[in-house]
Structure formats: structure tokens, C-alpha cells
């Protein structure tokens, strides 16, 4: 296990007793020369409740892997508190509670899938009989039962990710940390990995996964965190994060044949379409309801007919680009 710079600190209890991951004021500084250093993580704080799927979003080089390395105990934080299930990261106790899937499958490729799981099971302190029993089940679960005696060298990238999932789940950890699990996979591989994650989530495990692909987060996650230049720009429940942001409303309506909507003051931003008029309204969340009501009222006053009102919620992409 790595040297744990937190070992001598008095660690406060997690803000939530149900927190699976608790990060508070974490800084990571890499020395680039004797005199210079670069700050990879700057006062990052976040909490992931148990049973959540947390998407850690950020562009390449934002600090995602640095935080993950601290969480899994490969590196120590320069400052701050980092805990897994209430145990300081880097300690034996925290490592026994987490499963890790690295960004790129750097495995001992001369091993077969079963030998690979036996090796990692022994490192986890599991008995050989237990490892064999679990390996069979896990290889079946990730769809590699037939390839269990094949060398990892012959595996495709998707198969390597799947065998990586099997090793991460071998000791039935409470927390799974996945570093860009869908990176470099083709659409079929992405779908397979996404299904595995969704399947694991059903067992109540906490899943923390980093990605720079927003769609993956939208599809899988319940909570999200954004990181940019080593700083956490925001984190929380996706619905609540999106709920606070700007929305737009699309109103489709028709007017009487002799009426021109663009000549009505409140409707002047409307555009004519094949089957009527469309008005896209963008405003602050607080004002949008009132403005929508005023527009509908104007349409009705002009003897028009409202065909549809489609509220458009902000997407994670809007939020991501807004934040970054």
C-alpha cells in the first residue's frame, strides 16, 4: 500500500454516515522539477452516497485520474481527507472495500482469464476454493465463460474490460471505481460495458466512474461531478443540477388565416412553418412560466390556437459547457 499522508491527521467523520466516498479539501501537487510543481487537484470536495452511480465528468487532463489514483490508494493526496466507506484511502481497510477498473487494461497478458482472477483473488486474501467458485460466476456474468482458458493476450479491448470488471467484483466490494470504462470501445463494446454497469448498480453497489463522454453519464448516472483544471465546478444529483439551470420552451400554434403572428408584439420572434407558427422562448427559470403564460394569452387574444407546448430541460451538455 502507498504511503498515506493522511495517516497522521485527525480525520473527521464523513459528512454523511451513509457516504460511500467522501472527499474533502483534497489537493494533489506534482513536482515537475526541484523548484516547480503543478497543482493537479485544487481543494476538491465531494460526497457520493451509498448506492449511487456517480459520473465524474471532465475534459482530458482535468484531474479525473489524479483523484481516482488517490481514491484507490496508488497515490497519496498532498492535502485533504479522502475516505472510502469511512476508511482513509490508501489503507488496507479502504482497499478491501473497493474494486477498481483502470482506464486502459494493463494486465499480465500471458495469464488466462481464470489465472488472472486467481492471481487477483490471492492478492485480495481470498481462499483458492472461494476464488474458483466466484470466478466461474463472474466470468459467466460478464459473458466470458467460454473464453476463461484463453490467454488475455488474445482478448479484444471489450473482453479485457469485461475481465477487468470480473476482477473488480471478485471480493464483492461496496464501491466500484471505474476509470473511463468505455474509453476506446466500439459501439457494441460500449453497450456491453454500459449493461454491465447497470447490472452491477442493481445490486446496490456504489459506482464512481470517470468519463469525458456526457452521454454515458446521462444514460447511467444518478449523481454527477464536473471537474475542470483540477477544480470541482459542481456536483450533485443530476435532476437537481439540471432543475436549477436555464430552460427553454417551444410553443407551436396556428393563427387565423388573416393574422400574422410576427406583427403581434409578444409573438414577434415567432417563425412560420409548414403547419403554423413556432416560438422558442429562452429565459431564466424564475421568469419562464410567467412569460409562457403571457404568450399563450396573446395567442388566444389573437384568435389563435395553441397546438403544443414543449418545455426543454437543460441537458448535461449545456451544464457542462456552461460550467467549463
Amino acid at each position: 500500500m502507498t504511503r498515506n499522508p493522511q495517516a497522521n491527521q485527525t480525520v473527521p467523520p464523513p459528512s454523511s454516515s451513509r457516504a460511500a466516498i467522501h472527499v474533502e479539501g483534497v489537493e494533489k501537487r506534482y513536482r515537475t522539477s526541484r523548484l516547480a510543481s503543478v497543482l493537479a487537484l485544487d481543494n476538491v470536495s465531494l460526497t457520493v452516497p451509498q448506492g449511487e452511480i456517480f459520473g465524474f465528468l471532465g475534459p482530458n487532463g482535468a484531474g479525473k485520474t489524479s483523484l481516482i489514483k488517490i481514491l484507490v490508494g496508488i497515490q497519496g493526496a498532498s492535502k485533504g481527507v479522502c475516505q472510502i466507506m469511512g476508511e482513509n484511502c490508501g489503507t488496507r481497510e479502504s482497499k478491501l472495500r473497493l474494486g477498481y477498473l483502470p482506464e486502459r487494461p494493463y494486465y499480465h497478458e500471458f495469464l488466462t482469464a481464470r489465472e488472472f482472477l486467481l492471481f487477483h483473488g490471492r492478492l485480495l486474501g481470498l481462499s483458492d476454493s472461494n476464488i474458483h467458485a466466484k470466478s466461474e460466476k463472474l466470468l459467466d456474468r460478464v459473458g466470458l465463460k467460454k473464453a476463461r482458458d484463453q490467454k488475455l493476450r488474445t482478448f479484444s479491448k471489450g473482453m479485457l474490460q469485461r475481465v477487468g470488471f470480473a476482477q473488480a467484483l471478485l471480493h464483492d466490494p461496496a464501491v466500484l471505481i471505474l476509470d473511463e470504462p468505455m474509453s476506446g470501445l466500439d459501439p457494441v463494446g460500449r453497450r456491453e460495458v454500459r449493461d454491465i454497469i447497470a447490472d452491477i448498480a442493481k445490486t446496490g453497489k456504489t459506482i464512481f466512474f470517470s468519463t469525458h463522454i456526457i452521454h454515458d453519464v446521462e444514460v447511467l448516472c444518478t449523481t454527477v461531478g464536473f471537474i475542470q483544471h483540477g477544480k470541482l465546478k459542481g456536483s450533485g444529483n443530476i435532476d437537481s443540477l439540471l432543475g436549477k439551470t436555464v430552460k427553454s420552451v417551444e410553443i407551436r400554434f396556428s393563427m387565423a388565416a388573416d393574422r400574422d403572428a410576427s406583427k403581434v408584439n409578444t409573438l414577434r420572434n415567432s417563425r412560420k412553418t409548414m403547419d403554423g407558427w413556432v416560438l422558442e422562448l429562452e429565459s431564466d427559470v424564475e421568469k419562464i412560466e410567467q412569460q409562457t403564460a403571457e404568450i399563450i394569452s396573446s395567442i388566444l387574444d389573437e384568435k389563435g390556437r395553441v397546438k403544443s407546448i414543449i418545455p426543454r430541460k437543460s441537458t448535461l451538455e449545456d451544464l457542462f459547457f456552461g460550467e467549463t
Binding site: Y106, F110, L126
Partner: protein, 267 residues
Amino acid sequence: MKQNYLRTPIKQSLRQVFAISSVTFQELLREKILWSALLFAVLCVALSLAAAQLSFADQARIALDFGLTSVSIIGGLISVIMGSSLIAKEVHHRTLYLVLTKAVWRWQFVVGKFLGLLALLTLNSLIISGIAIGIFLLLDGQFRMSILQNYILQMSEFAILSAVACVFSAFSTATLSAIVTSGIWIIGHAMTDFQVLIPKIEPPLARPFLDFTARVLPDLTRFDIKAQVSHILPVTWSYTGVSVLYALSYVLFALAIACFVFTRRDL
């Protein structure tokens, strides 16, 4: 969430070290350099048969000399080259990331890698020695205890070289580690001459530094008893025992440094 973890921490710790050394052994067995070295050694030993035919003197002795020298050179080369890449390669290929995220201490990783290499060296030396001794006995040579003592001392030397290579491999690149360890291997075999030369070195100011270097670097001359084996000179078991103890202490010292350095390294 009850897990079937082994209860004895020492037993578990040893099991983890064994798992790492076992995978290291398998990994090293796949190295082309090992098989090239082994082939070269076998050729050298086979050549000893031809060389022995050319001699009017003791043919068995010449064959044994060839064999013992092959074991020494090939084993030393494998210790230096493979030892130097032992940890550096894991860092470079990032295969250690997944290992270190398990409940494994970094010292276990270093010790496991070292033991894996030592197991390979034992096997390699056994094969070459076995062939060499087989030829020696075929040429009517008489087996003597000093041949076994030579094997034990050779293994001790390889253990020291591997441990020294581990120290450099823990914080440096494989190439740099190999260069420095090769230097130590050469100086270690010239230690007697080196110690004689130190009082004559000019300026005298450099002498304490050189004296310190001579004390820190391993004295590998004590593991070289090939001449005694060849000329049927006695080698006492107490000499062998003390040399093995020296090697053991040096290996522990070197591994402690390697573990200390590697534990503090930011990966």
C-alpha cells in the same frame, strides 16, 4: 457482507508475496533474453566438451571450468538485466496499478518480484550446472562437495546482484539500473584489488570516500571459488556459511532500501 478472508495476517501476507513471485516467475520465463542466455550457456558447456578433447591434461577439469564460468556469467547477466527491469517494467507497463489497489503493501510487491527472479535464477543455474556436471562426470570427473558449495555461493552472488538491481529499478529506468548494477558487478569482483589500491590513490582526500564506497558495495570476490573447485582445493563449510550470511544480510539491506524508496515513490 462477510468475506472469506484468511484469518492469519502473516499467512495472508506470505500468500500475497507468493502470488506476486509466482506471476513474476511465469512472466520472466517468457523473456526471450532468458532463452537466448540459456542457449548460449548450453552451447558454451557443449563447447567445453570439444575444448577438453584438444587438451592432453585433465579433460574433465577443463569441462568443469567451462561449465562453472558459464553458470557465473549467464546467471550474473540475467540477475543484472532482469533485475533492472523487474519493477521499472511494471511501472512502465502500468501492470502494477491493479496489484497495488489490492490490500498489498508495496514492500510485498518488491519482495515478491525479487523472489520470482530468484526462483528463475535457481532454475536457470540448476539447468546449466546440471549439464556441466553431467559432462564433467562423463569425462570421469569425481564429484566433490566444493561443486555444491560453488553452486550455493553463485546463487548468493546472484541474489545480491538481483537485490541491488531492485534498488535502482525501484526509482529509475531499466537501462540506467542495468548500467549501474553492471558497474557494481564489475567492481564487486575486483574488490580485493580495489581495497589494495585505495591507500595509493591520489589525492589522499579521495581515500575516505573510496574507502566508504568499498565498504558499501558488495564484495563479490568471496563468492568466487571456481579456482578452488577446479584445482580440487578444500573450501570449508564455515567459509561457505559466513559468505551465505554476508549475502543474506546484504540482500536484506538492499531490499529494505528498495522497499523504502518504492513506498515513497509517486506512481
